[in-house]
């Protein structure tokens, strides 16, 4: 057993499936064990729709709160926003926009990745 750094990626939109919130529950769960794993959360593809400011986050609020308390930022990839016509002013407060190179760096830095 060892402490791991885990990258959780979200490719599913926050509608049509439960991945957007159950993935966050898993992200919190990963940090809950005795190994005290750490996580990064990255939204890619249609997953970036979760970062829009007007998205209903009531069912995810407690997981987002737990991650925020652990200083886990929500990151979205810039190209995924651009290709969907989403501007940074459309995003919720606290969401960090990163370039593709930075996203790849998150992958490199992670011991394991999990995709939802």
């Amino acid at each position: 057993m060892a402490q791991r750094h885990v990258l959780i990626t979200f490719n599913h939109a926050p509608y049509g499936s439960i991945y957007y919130t159950e993935g966050l529950r898993a992200a919190v769960g990963v940090t809950s064990g005795i190994d005290e794993h750490t996580v990064d959360v990255l939204y890619l593809g249609d997953g970036v729709y979760f970062a829009l400011k007007d998205v209903d986050r009531r069912d995810s609020a407690k997981y987002l709160g737990t991650l925020s308390a652990s200083s886990v930022n929500l990151r979205v990839e810039r190209d995924a926003l651009l290709s969907r016509g989403i501007s940074e002013s459309d995003l919720a407060e606290g969401v960090e926009v990163i370039d593709g190179d930075e996203a790849l760096e998150l992958v490199r830095r992670a011991d394991l990745t999990i995709d939802f």
Binding site: R4, G29, D35
Partner: protein, 117 residues
Amino acid sequence: MATIGILLTGGPFQFENWETAVDIGEAALAKGHRVKYFLYLDGVYNPIRHQSFPDLDVMPKDRVSELVDKGAEIIACGVCVNARGLQGGKDYVEGVRVGGLPDFAEIVGEVDRLVTL
């Protein structure tokens, strides 16, 4: 010998994720590796012992039983199990344990590779 973790979110009879997960696990076990599954979301439907479907000779639950016999560790998410009315997994094939996300966190700490399906 490596330890392979598999996070399975796909249920049976609709998508093939479960079958890919089983095939990967069997191949790894055959080469002497350890395999640990965490069944999440609809993945918890795969070990139900009452499965039947006329077009399939082998049910997902039979493949799960074979994995157990070959030494795989299989844990199902308890919240997901209860959300789907599976009553603590009492209808599961033998050898599948109901646990929780702390068990998944433990798997994360043990594996050399993790596959999400």
